[in-house]
Amino acid sequence: MAKFHPELDLLTEHAAGNLPLAQAACVSVHLNYCEQCRRASAQLQSLGATLFEGLPGEPVGDTLLNMVLARLDDAPPLSYASSAGWSAGRTPAILQRLMSGDFTDLVWKKITSTLRISYLKTGDPNYEFALYHIKAGGRIPEHTHRGPEMTLVLEGGFSDADGSYHQGDFLLRQPGDVHAPTAVQSEDCICLAVLDAPLKFTGMPYRWMNPFLQLQPG
């Protein structure tokens, strides 16, 4: 069960539908793994519903009603025999949609001997949405963040100076936070990272790579 969660204000903005698409997708992946945040999110949505009910209604004429009635036959009711939904344990549906396959089907770009990155396309023009594959025991060179970074563990786990993180754990790093995550020894780690500015390696042997770490949004 996830131990690290999005803060309340982030969950609120998510429930209100206000997060940028790439960030919303990342929070949604956390909800897939975390029942307590799903519950909180449901309550935060009923808050929105109560505000919605209280809106002073804007007049809608019968013309619009008749237009909708005329279109009903073109919109046959959906069948709910097998509903897709939150899929605890399995790869979250939203990621499956973005990957159109499994982790092994993706194109991975090698960054270091233990780190590979695969960029997924969310369509969000401002955020990079990428999967990081870190070999068991492998270390991501120490780096800092130029913008906020969301990280979510999908498989395996990693640790840094602040803690150790496992499947479903959600982290929000602020600009200037420096860390050097290391994957657990027992298995490879795959995590999702959402960025609006490229990472910056701080350690000597890797600094030359910084110009090559262009943000890959979209």
């Binding site: 204000d9 539908g17 698409l21 909180a40 109560t50 009910e53 809106l55 939904g85 939150w86």
Partner: protein, 199 residues
């Protein structure tokens, strides 16, 4: 303040009575019989709210607001079979559809080329245990009752965030308040609503 059900009282019949309001019944009729009369009643009640939601924060033009009303109401027709009156009020269900459609519309207007729809971000939950359903429904009712007790300054910010679709930062700029004040008002409101964030 209205009395809040505390989870220990209430016989099953009373609980059942609370769960079936007029709008839930409409949705059940639409799902079961494709009942156009029920759909028309539902439309007359909710279309003005959807239109107001579309226009909140003057984010969409009147013609786009009408387009949103059509989209949402067609989804209501199509998805009525997925509505579970045990789980949520009809208005909560409609609100989430309206929010998703509005977000998708914003992204279309910004020419996002995305494989995702907002429905992917908020998938329908798989059927849960009856006990969890009951708890969810109770906390929804509690939120609805406690909302009446929130002070105006907190309601104002929640309305900006939820109805006008403003980020906390945008709400702060518009109200000429520090971001920290906006965040703490949201936090206070959520505490008062007893929304459980057990960490």
């Amino acid at each position: 303040m209205a009395e809040i059900p505390d989870g220990t009282r209430g016989d099953p019949q009373e609980l059942a009575g609370r769960r079936t309001d007029e709008w839930s019944e409409c949705l059940v009729l639409i799902a079961a019989n494709q009942d156009r009369a029920a759909f028309t009643r539902f439309f007359r009640h909710f279309a003005p709210l959807i239109k107001a939601f579309a226009l909140a924060g003057s984010s969409l033009s009147a013609s786009l607001a009408d387009e949103l009303v059509q989209e949402v109401m067609l989804k209501v027709w199509q998805k009525a079979g997925g509505f579970n009156p045990e789980k949520a009020a009809a208005s909560t269900w409609v609100y989430t559809i309206a929010r998703n459609c509005r977000t998708d519309m914003f992204r279309r207007l910004q020419k996002f080329d995305t494989p995702l729809a907002e429905e992917d971000v908020f998938p329908d939950q798989e059927s849960e245990e009856p006990f969890a359903l009951l708890q969810g429904k109770r906390s929804e009712e509690r939120v609805r009752e406690l909302m009446k007790t929130l002070p105006g300054d907190q309601m104002q910010i929640l309305a900006k965030v939820y109805m006008e679709g403003k980020s906390h930062a945008e709400a702060a700029a518009e109200l000429d308040l520090p971001l920290g004040t906006v965040k703490s008002r949201v936090r206070l409101a959520i505490q008062k609503l007893q929304i459980q964030i057990d960490r």
